[in-house]
Symmetry: C2
Subunit: 323 residues, 2 copies
């Protein structure tokens, strides 16, 4: 098993630069006062297709040989839209396998970006099996959502951008909090940030009921979630950590915390009020971990990843009604 | 009357760099498809204090001599919060004169940033008179919202950032649309963008009933709005263009268009859905001008300024309910 190195991240930065948005690190004096520490928020809802997934998809797609004309991906939504859009940017066809209960906006966006959508039952069928079958039938190249070096390296461009910004501003962070589902974002960022700041404490955030990484980290081996668990954090309800991503994350991550759906909704409202960004539930769990008191941020400098903003209107209204 | 030059903008870029957010130019493939052209959106809701006003306030405050310890400003809200926060960043006291009907969030934010708030009736009293009186009584320095060279130059840093980004990406824009109230933002950006792209068509956007700049541009002299006009675009309901700003804008701006409140609400919803940013009504009128068909964007590259995001929850809910 070959794991990505910092050099892979540097190559990804170069490969993706013409396509991606260099998202800002946002800061709110009022939010800092409220939580009693300094929080710097990497705003990936502003990334093309509305989530960080466009980074990994772009790096993977533009890393393929010219002969490839058709790609396949399975995803709860954000990787779907990202692969569809990245494939379109290189003139490729994309077939996307999505759970039938994915947010309506995510299915609509994937189709709008040119993706051909196939739906499945996420609690009964295996998307990996469907993906492999479709890839074989159609002669297409599979772009996995996280167990794939170019995807992890692409997500890791966030770690490089954050580090560059911090060094420019002469800021040394104490800790970084990032959501995790399959673990590709967390793995890529961990490689990037620890290359520049080896002493930063990295903390993972998950939804309650989907704390497979937390339990895997504590037990030292990959464990799964209860298949009956449910959460509104649709972007990160993956059944178990990836093998590659866990090999990386178990080396870099100190601790994992789990937050309730209401904590995620509260974080969406806070992001709306103080940061002026639109966050989705799964994308907001790292911020939620701070607001729910799961991570001590007092008198510390904490980098927080808000990873996506593709949220349906009813969920967003529920969040604002908590204010 | 000394008007700002491009050199003043360059000095402002240098002076403000340690304090401000370099906001991204956002683009949505879906929005481009929908409107049939390429639209690049400068996302100033992501600026500190939630609007571009922090740029001008920061440039003005850090341009003052060390002896100044107390500043005064009058503002419908965004300049208020910006001056309060910029003054705090230099350890100065700020007294802010705000209309009593300003959005609750804006008054609360100004206080939270450390500003001492004094309210007045915007339809009966003159904020200029109150500001001059308070400045004299308290020995404080007045920071005007737009009729002040350092403020115009500070807002102009947006024009420099946009031009730098466009040149890096080898993009030549056809036109730029920007909201206008007093005209400081429009003036600063016009100087910045025309220095680099002299052929860009600059278009101003205003709320219906507050189209004083449109009528001033057409008649060649500054005219005022009906004092009985009302709009939800609280950030840009200034009674008349400034003398300095009109001298600049009448040279640079080709055309002005007016949009309805419902157009502004629709633009807020579109910014939420496609760009993942939170816009306020006044900050969204330039985008609204496109969506309402007031500016032809088909097969063109258009830069749009979304200038702020300090919106109360009831207005935001009204906007999302239009989707």
């Amino acid at each position: 098993m070959i794991l990505p190195s910092y050099r892979d991240l540097e190559a990804a930065v170069k490969r993706t630069a013409p396509h991606i948005v260099q998202t800002p690190l946002l800061e709110s004096a009022l939010l800092n006062d409220y939580i009693g520490g300094r929080v710097l928020i990497k705003a990936e809802p502003l990334q093309k297709t509305g989530s960080f997934k466009f980074r990994g998809a772009t790096n993977a797609i533009w890393n393929l040989p010219d002969e490839v004309t058709h790609v396949v991906a399975y995803s709860s939504g954000n990787h779907a839209a990202a692969v569809a859009a990245a494939a379109a940017s290189r003139g490729m066809i994309a077939t996307i396998i999505m759970p039938e209960d994915a947010p309506a906006m995510k299915i609509a966006n994937t189709k709008a970006f040119g993706g051909q959508v196939v739906t499945y039952d996420r609690y009964k069928e295996s998307r990996e099996t469907i993906g492999a079958k479709l890839a074989k039938e159609q002669g297409a190249t599979l772009i996995p959502p996280f167990e794939y070096l170019p995807v992890i390296a692409g997500q890791g461009t966030i770690g490089v951008e954050v580090s560059d910004w911090l060094k420019q501003q002469n800021v040394t962070p104490d800790q970084l909090i990032c959501c995790t589902g399959g673990g590709g974002l967390l793995a890529g960022i961990s490689i990037g940030i620890h290359h520049h700041f080896p002493d930063v404490t990295i903390i993972a955030a998950e939804p309650e009921g989907f704390d497979d990484f937390k339990r895997s980290l504590e037990s030292g081996k990959r464990v799964s979630n209860d298949p009956n668990a449910r959460s509104i954090c649709d972007a990160i309800v993956t059944p178990t950590p990836g093998e590659m991503t866990f090999a990386i994350n178990s080396q870099h991550v100190s601790q994992a915390v789990a937050v309730r759906d209401d904590d995620a909704l509260n974080a969406i409202a806070v992001a709306w009020q103080y940061l002026k960004i639109v966050a989705e539930p799964g994308g907001a769990v790292a911020l939620a971990a701070i607001l729910a008191g799961k991570v001590d941020v007092r008198n510390k400098t904490t980098v927080v990843i808000v990873s996506g903003g593709n949220v349906d209107q009813d969920i967003f209204n529920r969040a604002l009604n908590m204010l």
